[in-house]
């Protein structure tokens, strides 16, 4: 009986965490105007999201032991995110193209390269994360790392320009009228090789 009580108590807490995280993510979407709800709902959702975040100890300092222990549990149980896949709407995707400049003036184009379609899905996810991050420094650092991996494959390259863009998907009716997928330029970064890949020079 005692074992059952412990199991039931653990599961209550576990389920509460799952629901709270999912609810918080849903409320975040409403609060940021990404849903069909009218804008009058935003304030309420923001407040409710704040309460959900507080319940999940997300308002505590990052170094707080309670928050650290809870975060560890969430990670090991795989419940640290909500479940809004492709919701409320399917976002566009991103594309990263490297322009490789050789010492003889030759220019080649290269994409981030992996060997399997399973890894390809992961790289596409990485580009989405680069595109969506609100932190310019993190975006630049990630692009720099990808450029470095290209450099290892082409050590003779003198400079690399990384061009990051978003994919604009045509609607069904646009597609029927002949419009196809297009790209919007977002960022470009120039990297030059001295002794090792140098600090990037960002061009927006």
């Amino acid at each position: 009986m005692r074992q059952k009580n412990v199991c039931a108590a653990w599961f209550s807490l576990h389920l509460l965490l799952i629901i709270s995280f999912s609810l918080r993510d849903t409320l975040w979407l409403v609060a940021h105007g990404q849903t069909i709800f009218p804008s009058s709902f935003r304030n309420y959702s923001q407040k409710a999201e704040g309460i959900a975040s507080a319940v999940l100890c997300q308002r505590l300092a990052a170094s707080n032991p309670v928050r650290q222990v809870l975060a560890t549990y969430l990670h090991v149980a795989g419940i640290e995110t909500g479940y809004g896949y492709f919701a409320p709407n399917v976002p566009g995707s991103y594309k990263l193209v490297f322009e490789l400049h050789y010492p003889d003036g030759r220019i080649e184009y290269e994409l981030p390269r992996v060997n399997s379609s399973a890894a390809g899905l992961r790289v596409a996810g990485l580009l989405d994360k680069i595109g969506r991050t609100p932190y310019d420094a993190l975006r630049e650092l990630l692009v720099k790392m990808l450029a470095q991996s290209i450099w290892r494959q082409h050590p003779e390259v003198k400079t690399i320009r990384a061009v990051f863009g978003s994919t604009r998907l045509p609607s069904l009716s646009e597609f029927e009228r002949g419009k196809r997928e297009s790209y919007d330029f977002l960022y470009a970064y120039d990297f030059s090789l001295r002794e090792k890949p140098a600090e990037p020079e960002a061009v927006k």
Binding site: Q34, T35, A71, A118, L146, S149, F175
Partner: protein, 312 residues
């Protein structure tokens, strides 16, 4: 109050056979094996640290440390390997082999508990250290492996049972862990369906179209998809209703079978039409393990009853 508690405990701790656990163990064994094999040529490239990885693993681990310093990561194992003179590349290769062995161990049911813990730990390390390259499939694999390693292994179809005469634990705990998985799936689908319902694109089918033409999920030629355009709104609404209705219709004997088939068909469709094979597989495994065995048992019972009814 006591009666309520008793009813709650009856629900949470039903007497169960271990058929669901066998499905979960074998299914996750296949999932881990396919996961390892699918990444065999990119494993070191995806998860290496400075100077050889696609994205430096140290960055993902540093960001993870802000959230949790104790979440498992590959960096710990690489450091441990460095202490005994192993290069990072060697450590990563050993870990890949261990993960593959753990997957095969789960399929066969050899050292079931050890294999489950090893698979959970190594996959978690890879998912956390490769945070920038992980996606939904990693979440659901962690969830499935977490429940599997805590469940009362081995099940009767495991080689452990046959060879080492290990006996499974009591059935109320078997029932409890199945309930945990069932309720988790209900929460997952409900919120997934709810957030989809809040987007206009699922009601008019435009999100179905976008999902199918969005790189890298554009497996099918859009020219071919256009011919099926009238089905997109139906498919969008169907997906919303299927997901949000899951926690309400999956429990009833009358609707469970059709709901389970539809959900599995939806995931199979996502797998084949969008190239997300591993994601489709893990979702089908979790669903069939959680809600499948009862259906098979019900069918067998009704089949076995027929002769007796005829005699009566």
């Amino acid at each position: 109050m006591r009666a309520l508690k008793e009813r709650l405990f009856e629900f949470l701790f039903p007497t169960e056979s271990d058929a669901w656990l066998s499905i979960l163990r074998v299914g996750l064994g296949f999932q881990i094996t396919l996961y390892s094999l699918s990444l065999r040529n990119d494993w070191n490239h995806l998860f290496a640290g400075a100077d050889s990885g696609l994205v430096n693993r140290d960055l993902a681990e540093a960001l993870l440390s802000i959230e949790s310093r104790f979440a498992p990561r590959l960096g710990w194992l690489a450091t441990l390997g460095a202490h005994v003179g192993l290069r990072e590349e060697t450590v990563l290769s050993i870990l890949w082999i261990c993960l593959l062995v753990a997957g095969c161990g789960l399929i066969a049911g050899i050292f079931s508990r050890t294999s489950a813990i090893l698979a959970w730990f190594l996959h978690l390390c890879a998912a956390k250290s490769g945070g920038f390259v992980s996606y939904g499939v990693d979440n659901f694999m962690t969830i499935g492996l977490f429940y599997l390693m805590l469940s009362p292994l081995p099940d009767r179809y495991a080689l452990d049972w046959q060879l080492r005469k290990s006996q499974p634990e009591d059935s109320p705990l078997l029932g409890f862990w199945r309930r945990v998985l069932q309720l988790h799936l209900c929460a997952t689908y409900f919120f997934s369906g709810l957030t989809k319902c809040l987007g206009s694109g699922w009601w008019d089918g435009s999100n179905v179209w976008r999902a199918l033409i969005r790189p890298p999920f554009n497996v099918i030629d859009p020219e071919m998809l256009v011919r099926w355009k009238y089905l997109f709104p139906v498919a969008g609404v169907f997906i919303c209703l299927l997901e949000i209705g899951y926690p309400f219709f999956i429990w009833s004997d009358k609707t469970r079978k059709i709901w389970l088939i539809c959900i599995c068909a939806m995931h199979a469709g996502i797998g084949f039409m969008m190239g997300m094979y591993l994601f489709a597989l893990i979702m089908i495994i979790l669903n069939v393990a959680a809600f499948g065995p009862g259906l098979v048992r019900l069918q067998r019972e009704s089949t076995s009853l027929r002769p007796q009814e005829a005699v009566a």
